[in-house]
Symmetry: C2
Subunit: 464 residues, 2 copies
Amino acid sequence: MTMGDKIDAVLDHVDKALPLSLERLFELIRIKSVSTEAAHAQDCRDAAEWLAQDLRGLGFDASVRDTDGHPMVVGHNRADAGPHILFYGHYDVQPVDPLRLWETDPFEPVMKPLPNGDTAIVARGASDDKGQLMTFVEACRAWKAVTGELPVGVSVLFEGEEEAGSPNLMPFLDKTADELAADAIFVCDTDMWDRDTPAVITMVRGLVSQEIEITCADRDLHSGIYGNAARNALQVMGDMIASLRNADGSVAIDGFYDGIRPLPDAVRAQWQSLPFDDEGFLSDVGLSIPAGETDFPVLEQVWARPSCEIHGLWGGYMGDGFKTVIPAKAHAKISFRLVDGQDPEKVRDAFKAHVRNTIPADCSVTFTDIAAAPATVMALDSPFLRKSLGALTEEWGRKAALAGTGGSIPIIGEFKKRLGCDSLLVGFARFDNRIHSPNEKYDLSSFHKGIRSWVRILAALAED
Amino acid sequence: MTMGDKIDAVLDHVDKALPLSLERLFELIRIKSVSTEAAHAQDCRDAAEWLAQDLRGLGFDASVRDTDGHPMVVGHNRADAGPHILFYGHYDVQPVDPLRLWETDPFEPVMKPLPNGDTAIVARGASDDKGQLMTFVEACRAWKAVTGELPVGVSVLFEGEEEAGSPNLMPFLDKTADELAADAIFVCDTDMWDRDTPAVITMVRGLVSQEIEITCADRDLHSGIYGNAARNALQVMGDMIASLRNADGSVAIDGFYDGIRPLPDAVRAQWQSLPFDDEGFLSDVGLSIPAGETDFPVLEQVWARPSCEIHGLWGGYMGDGFKTVIPAKAHAKISFRLVDGQDPEKVRDAFKAHVRNTIPADCSVTFTDIAAAPATVMALDSPFLRKSLGALTEEWGRKAALAGTGGSIPIIGEFKKRLGCDSLLVGFARFDNRIHSPNEKYDLSSFHKGIRSWVRILAALAED
């Protein structure tokens, strides 16, 4: 049996077994593994146990590994010869609030027909990242079912704290660097270029995230007594937030842009060759005016320029009716997406200095540091990259794109640093997947052709 | 028995019956009559019923009157001759959140010794307004107990929606204008000048309050995909809030100051003669820099200048951990305190125009109108005012002050318009009562000498 025949047989198996693959995905989705909410700690462990058991069923040497947070899942299916790859995904999901905006139960996946003839799998984690990671697991299952083996040696690492900033990943990688050693790392947590065009991502933005609390008076006050004279923490927070951005969309923090390496002309040229519709990108979500730096096109704003976003903001009276309180405290969750050359700790320090300089002298601020990861840029001359692009092009019938991403996958930098290996980001999510939002979905075609793509990539990696 | 002897006997009775007066106040406080929270609707009715029953026990013709919201309590104790007064108070209270900042149960009053030898009654409503309104009820009780009658004819009106902006008061006053007709109106919802100096307030700020919702994208977005390019509703809200104030502390809304009548020189001179410590006023609450217009002293900022305050602000992810969402919506509760000459509806319209002009063209805003009441200024030549000042001066041994207040008591304007009568604002609260805040308190001396003050005022009003 030639490799070509094997691939055809495995792909055929994938097509026929799709209903069973979906059933397993639904089982995993039903486990409410929200990593940032303490109430779901056991659910996170349950998801890890489910994955380890599933991998063992495929012949992997797989186990759940404790950390100081939610556990990791590690599995190995080693080969006697040829390259060995490490596959990474995460089994934790984002919180579901605001729950009232979900049309169906976030943890009970439903199949909904889409206007384009495709079908949506609607649920929290359907795309990010349970649907994506299961494309790889199902591809392995199909190879095993048809040929009894995998084309190359495979290790998997499934994390349970990606949505919480991966606080326990670094020590875990240090401990397991030898065990996880690989010739190439594949990460499945990203989008396709567009509905029909697969992509391998080679640039990932970094992330610095902070929670801040601004305090003015030592108690909440009544505006009928103090209104005008006493500093209002919500006004101070508003002033601070406004001070973060210039009118031209740039970030107004001193030193924020220090060290940034400009986008290589070759990369820019390649991006410009990609079909990208600035207006359509925004109008799809009800907007029309790009919010970032006015002298950069939208694609560069989201892939190659650093950002500052307010993710949460609260203070004062938020209940029914009205309360004429002058709040003493205001809170915000703020992050910065970083690009190549920015130092996360310097950005963090610059932000803190900016806030301290902005608030009135009789107010104070407390910072809680969350994540800090630099941007990463991958080598473009890797044979693993070339083979993956070829396999993707074959499956989708469209030339696979080399792309960037506005997202941050801190593990990419950690893999490089701790395992000494570049990562290839291959994912089958689509722009309209509403990840992190109500009614998250994964297209059935993403899931199905994603599995088929990994079948082909595993075969391509085995070739000389 | 001369009037002087009667007063002495009634005051003596007040002193001896104080423990019983406190027991009744505690009963009223334990009824959780939070008017802005739907869950407490029955509690509001219970408080009204409690008051009506208590008044009937004193010989008032009293009843609970339904409205479209929480009910009113009306009671009459008419006299054959002499002036007839109307007394107003409110039995509803502010919400108690944040509950964790309360040292004791907000609805279980406790007596706590104060460093100055006084005693604090700590509870929600202890001061605002249950403690205050009961000073009048207890004074009536003492007159009845000792002399069997009141020195003047008295009607009372207790409202249950003052903290919710009195939405049903106007139609109620229209319906009951004849029944509530009086020669003077007394309102007990204000502060003394300082710990030892009583005050009658003749200027009350108006209030315009709004809830606003800003919408940018048509859904929450992921900053890893849209960060930088998609407008962030919390950034837009921050920009809008910052745009409301100029660097000199003035409000930056076009037309906001239109029509304001300057403070009469005589009033300013009188205020300047009052002992007021700008620094101490702020340092008492942990602040040092006045936030209002830099060219006005603090007392004028809070009594005679209009303000803009953000009372509540929320949007995005406010839970544990972190979520890199670009929120589609941001919410705020905002109010303006108004001064003599400002038109509430014009201020409201100017604010709306300001917001619409401030937000980006592809974002939208929804306004919910809450309250709108103009400032009120009372005639200074009333005999009722002169007699009240005299009675207060006698009780406290200090010349009673003519003062302003930064608070808004919309009913004052409604009484003037619908009952054709000025109101005298006489209250015994103190600056440090933490009204609307956790650990609200009323000093025992406020309660005790407040009762005694009303005993004297009722007598003074009966004199020619």
